[in-house]
């Protein structure tokens, strides 16, 4: 049986086709008409069941005869499939950051998620990269190369942007600012991680895990080893496909 997992994130749409392993995966931008994009993405692909996760799941699932699952359960399912001993998940996405603790069976035991604002998310870093006139890849690289960092006081995206502008105008080094900004996100996420009580093997999933600076800083801050899947961006979609394979029915 082939199952499809679709993850409609705030920034990108991810599709995974699953048949006891990842058969194929695709990532495209979300755009303004996510439903149309999903239709095109699924196109003539063959699958028996579909489960949809992510922000737009309730919009898209009924239209495409799929069931829905929250991103949190989806991440848990994927991480457990990829790493049977995993105990915790950190997920930094475009709009949301989450920390999840798994129970012995791989289900969700406890989780925390940011509310309403973009503090500590990919969106925060994207906006800050733009303020420094860097691409997101350059931004991560720049902060990895930094010899020192400046402390940013604000976790609010809009306030932090003002703070960055005033640092630039004080002649502060872009490397140091970039590192300071990454540290801001890590401070926020590690606070969540401590509240949830991350233990055991920790998996860092979601698009944010592609940022090597975030990985290194999180390891330092939490004082533990973090595992990043080969393709961390697609794990929620993979989890949705796994949940479809494990029995969530089409249109349920």
């Amino acid at each position: 049986m082939i199952t499809a997992g679709l993850d409609l994130g705030s920034r990108t749409i991810k599709l995974v086709l699953f048949d006891s392993g990842v058969r194929s995966s695709e990532v495209i931008d979300s755009g303004l008409k996510p439903l149309d994009r999903c239709r095109r993405l699924l196109g003539d692909k063959q699958y028996d069941k579909l489960v949809v996760t992510g922000y737009g799941r309730d919009l898209v699932a009924p239209e495409l005869s799929g069931a829905t699952i929250s991103e949190i359960s989806a991440q848990a399912a994927a991480v457990r499939f990829l790493y049977p001993d995993a105990a915790s998940v950190i997920d930094i996405g475009g709009q949301d950051s989450k920390v999840i603790r798994l129970n012995e069976k791989g289900g969700v035991l406890k989780f925390e998620m940011n509310d309403r604002c973009a503090a500590g998310t990919g969106k925060f870093l994207e906006i800050m990269a733009r303020a420094l006139e860097l691409t997101i890849d350059e931004f991560a690289r720049t902060s990895l190369e930094a010899k020192r960092s400046v402390t940013l006081n604000s976790l609010c995206t809009v306030f932090a942007e003002s703070e960055v502008v005033s640092l630039i105008n004080k002649g502060e080094d872009a490397h140091a600012i970039a590192l300071g900004l990454h540290q801001s996100v890590v401070t926020r996420v590690s606070g969540m991680a401590r509240r949830v009580g991350v233990t055991g093997q920790v998996i860092f999933a979601g698009g944010g895990a592609k940022n090597a600076c975030l990985v290194r800083l999180l390891e330092d801050k939490l004082n533990l080893k973090i595992t990043v899947p080969d393709d961390p961006q697609i794990t929620a979609a993979l989890g949705a496909a796994i949940i479809a394979a494990n029995g969530k029915n089409q249109g349920e």
Partner: protein, 424 residues
């Protein structure tokens, strides 16, 4: 332009007709989407649909009629204000408008943004002349359950007479003595306002009336323990919200009829959600009309809300006042003690609330609890840490959410609630 009878009345009350019209036009579709779309509702909810359909009309008209004959209307914000004195002295207590984002921007012209939505919304209702209940009232009674409200009342007093009751922060001997005196002072205030004396007879009657309504709410709460649940959390919340500004005897009748119907449903095993649907207890900040946001998200996700540990829930009806006391002094003492049992987060310590949450969760067979606090409500937000610990110890799953009346976090809220329901 000709005005409808309601518009004529609102205009006489000084309502900003244009703005108010926008508010009313927004409420209709929201109510339709959230309430009328529910399946298999009890017939007893027909009354509440009718009330909300004319939410600023018929009841306001009754209050005006009462006022025309010299009667007084006393507006309140909080379950600490002893409504029995009002009924005893021939005044009508009503709780005030406060549950919508619509009036928040109006309030933010004056109040700081980082103030809780309940305070901003209620103040905005007065400032924007959007609430006929506040317009028709002769006295607003505030209380010192939180610092934000306390200071808002000072600003509100610039516009309308306000009387503030001091709620102590501790249930100590000194705290109890303070509250006993506050209750007696409030009695004197109501006597002065109405010109009527509060006696053993009329206070005894009032206590019986309000107790009768409380008993029916307790019965409603007990009926919600059934699986399948005979009524949605949204409907039960609405009945509570409406009771806070409607006539006490009428509400007792309405809830009695509703309960009789629900009892039949329970006997037949009928419900509003399938047997085995996830059962959620809501605990935390009050939800004034039309704040149905959290209930709607939870119940749209397939779960059922079986109780509210809140001021628009158990704190409103849980404790009764002893009846049949033969002298006024003892009655006042008993009445004050009853109100002091309200497990508000303004008290330190407030461990009684933790016990209450766990007891409710067990009585109502809740699978999990969602702790709800309005953003910037510091007492409930901080007390949530202890709620979290107590529930972890009791082995009851908890989700903490902090939100306000706006829809900006609807997506994030839904994800967290879905994930919580999936993990139960």
């Amino acid at each position: 332009m000709t005005l409808t009878a309601n518009e004529q009345m609102w205009s006489e009350l000084g309502i900003d007709l244009e703005s108010h019209g926008q508010l009313m036009n927004a409420l209709g579709p929201i109510y339709g989407e959230i309430y009328l779309s529910q399946k298999n509702r009890p017939q007893g909810m027909g009354f509440y649909d009718f009330v909300v359909g004319d939410i600023h009309g018929i009841r306001v008209k009754e209050l005006r009629e009462h006022a025309k004959d010299g009667g007084k209307v006393v507006a309140t914000y909080c379950v600490f204000v002893p409504e029995e004195f009002c009924w005893a002295a021939g005044a009508i207590p009503v709780s005030l408008c406060a549950g919508t984002q619509f009036s928040v921007p109006v309030a933010e012209e004056v109040l700081p943004r980082n103030t809780c939505a309940l305070i901003k919304s209620s103040y905005g209702f007065k400032l924007g002349r959007l609430c006929p209940y506040v317009q028709v009232s002769h006295l607003i009674v505030g209380e010192t359950t939180c610092d934000g409200k306390k200071k808002m009342f000072e600003l509100l007093a610039e516009q309308q007479p306000v009387y503030v009751m001091e709620v102590p922060n501790k249930r100590s001997t000194a705290g109890r003595a303070l509250w006993q005196q506050e209750v007696r002072d409030f009695k004197a205030k109501i006597e002065e306002l109405t010109g009527n004396e509060i006696t053993v007879e009329n206070l005894g009657e009032a206590i019986k009336k309000v107790n009768a309504r409380r008993r029916e709410f307790r019965r409603l709460s007990a009926l919600r323990a059934a699986d399948p649940a005979p009524i949605s959390g949204k409907d039960a919340l609405l009945a509570t919200q409406v009771s806070m500004y409607d006539d006490v005897e009428r509400q007792t009748q309405m809830i009695t009829a509703l309960n009789d119907e629900l009892e039949e449903r329970v006997k037949k095993g009928e419900g509003v959600a399938p047997k085995g649907a996830k059962r959620i207890l809501i605990s935390g900040s009050p939800m004034a009309i039309p704040n149905w946001k959290l209930h709607h998200i939870v119940e749209s996700s397939g779960a059922i809300i079986v109780g509210e540990e809140s001021c628009t829930g158990s704190r409103f009806y849980n404790e009764l006042i002893p009846e049949g006391i033969g002298n006024l002094e003892d009655m006042l003492t008993a009445l004050a003690d009853r109100y002091l049992k309200t497990n508000c987060a303004c008290f330190t310590p407030n461990t009684e609330r933790l016990d209450d949450i766990i007891k409710m969760a067990r009585d109502l067979k809740a699978d999990g609890i969602i702790h709800y606090n309005l953003q910037f409500c510091h007492t409930y937000a901080n007390e949530a840490v202890q709620v979290d610990r107590a529930l972890a110890e009791a082995g009851i799953p908890l989700l903490r959410v902090e939100t306000d009346y706006s829809d900006e976090d609807a997506g994030q809220l839904k994800t967290r609630i879905d994930a919580f329901l999936e993990m139960l």
